[in-house]
Symmetry: C2
Subunit: 189 residues, 2 copies
C-alpha cells in the first residue's frame, strides 16, 4: 500500500463520479479544512476544477490569501470527520481540526495541507476570477499535483468493486446522510 | 408511481450526490440530448447549477439559442442510452435520438424536452455569462422547474436503499464505465 502520483491528465477520474470532498488550505501557520459537495471537474488538460465556497467559510479566506488549495476525497470510514469539518467553523473553534480527529500531511514541494486517510488528493492553484468568486462563490483551480492511495485507485482506475464498504467514497445528500459508491457497471456500446 | 413536482429549494438534492446526467435542449423544432458528468449544484435558493458544455456539442448551440435547458438524471437501466447520446453528435447524425431509443416528453408550460425513464428532471434558464462560456465552456443556469419519479425520490429524499440496482443513479468514470449509487450511510454527529 502506498500513496502514488496520478498523472494530471488522469486526475479528472478522481472526481468524475461526483464524490463528496474535503477542501483544505493554509496561510502562514493557519490551516483549515472544510467539507464540500459542490466541487466538479472543469477540464481534463490542463486539469481544472470548480469549487463553490461560501463567503462564511474560513477556508475560503485562506484560499484567497494563499491562492492554493487541496481537494481530497474521503472514504466512508471518514464520514464522521466530514460532518465535523463541515459543521464547525475555525472562526468559532480554532481547535476544529483536532476536535475532528483530522491528521495532516504534506507532499514534497507543495505547501498545502492534505488530510490523512483519504482515497485521493488534488492540489490546485487558484485561477483568480473575481466576478465568479464574488457573485457566485465559484472558484476555479488548476490541478498542479494529484495522488491516490493505490488500494483505492491504481493505474488510472478506481477499484471499488474490490473494496469493503468503509473504503468506498461518499456522496452527500443533506443532514448527516450520504450514499457510498456502489457497484461497477459497464454499458454496452 | 408518478412524476411529482420537487420544490425548487429542494432540487439541489437531486444533484448533490454527483450523478451523471443527460442535458437536453430545443430550438424551434430541433431537439438534442447529450451526456454530461460535469454538472454541479451552484446554489440552493434561488437554485442554480453549473454545466460544462464543450464547444463541439450541438446541444450547447441549442442552449445558446433558446437560453433554456434541462438536466435529467438517468438510472442504471439507461446506461446504454447515456453512452449513445454521449458519443454521437446531432451534427453527424440527425437521427441520433431515435437511434439511441430516447423518448421525450414535456411538462406543462415548459417548452424544454425531457427524456422519459429518468429518475428526475430540472429545467433551467440560462444565466448568460459570456466570459465563462467562452473561456471555460462553463454555463450557469437557474432552476425554474424540478420533478422526480416518486419511486426513486419522494418528499425530499432519495429512496435508493429500497430500489433494485437498475433503478439507481449512475456515476461516470471513463469509457463505458460507471458506478451505480450504493448503500445509504448516516454519519454520527
Amino acid at each position: 500500500m502506498g500513496i502514488c502520483s496520478v498523472p494530471l491528465e488522469k486526475s479528472y477520474r478522481l472526481l468524475n463520479h461526483g464524490p463528496t470532498v474535503m477542501v483544505s488550505a493554509k496561510n502562514d501557520y493557519i490551516v483549515d479544512v472544510m467539507a464540500a459537495s459542490w466541487v466538479c471537474v472543469l477540464d481534463i488538460f490542463p486539469a481544472k476544477v470548480t469549487a463553490v465556497l461560501d463567503k462564511k467559510s474560513f477556508t475560503r479566506q485562506l484560499i484567497e490569501q494563499s491562492q492554493k488549495f487541496a481537494i481530497q476525497i474521503p472514504i466512508a470510514k471518514q464520514a464522521e470527520q466530514v460532518i465535523k469539518v463541515g459543521t464547525q467553523s475555525y472562526t468559532d473553534n480554532s481547535d476544529k481540526l483536532t476536535d475532528s480527529h483530522i491528521e495532516l500531511f504534506y507532499q514534497d514541494n507543495f505547501d498545502v495541507p492534505l488530510v490523512k486517510g483519504c482515497a485521493a488528493w488534488l492540489i490546485c492553484r487558484l485561477i483568480p476570477e473575481q466576478s465568479n468568486q464574488q457573485n457566485y462563490d465559484l472558484f476555479i483551480g488548476e490541478v498542479i499535483g494529484a495522488w491516490a492511495d493505490d488500494r483505492m485507485f491504481d493505474r488510472g482506475h478506481w477499484k471499488f468493486d474490490q473494496l469493503s464498504d468503509e473504503m468506498k467514497t461518499l456522496h452527500y445528500i443533506a443532514g448527516n446522510q450520504f450514499y457510498i459508491t456502489g457497484k461497477g457497471l459497464i454499458a454496452r456500446d
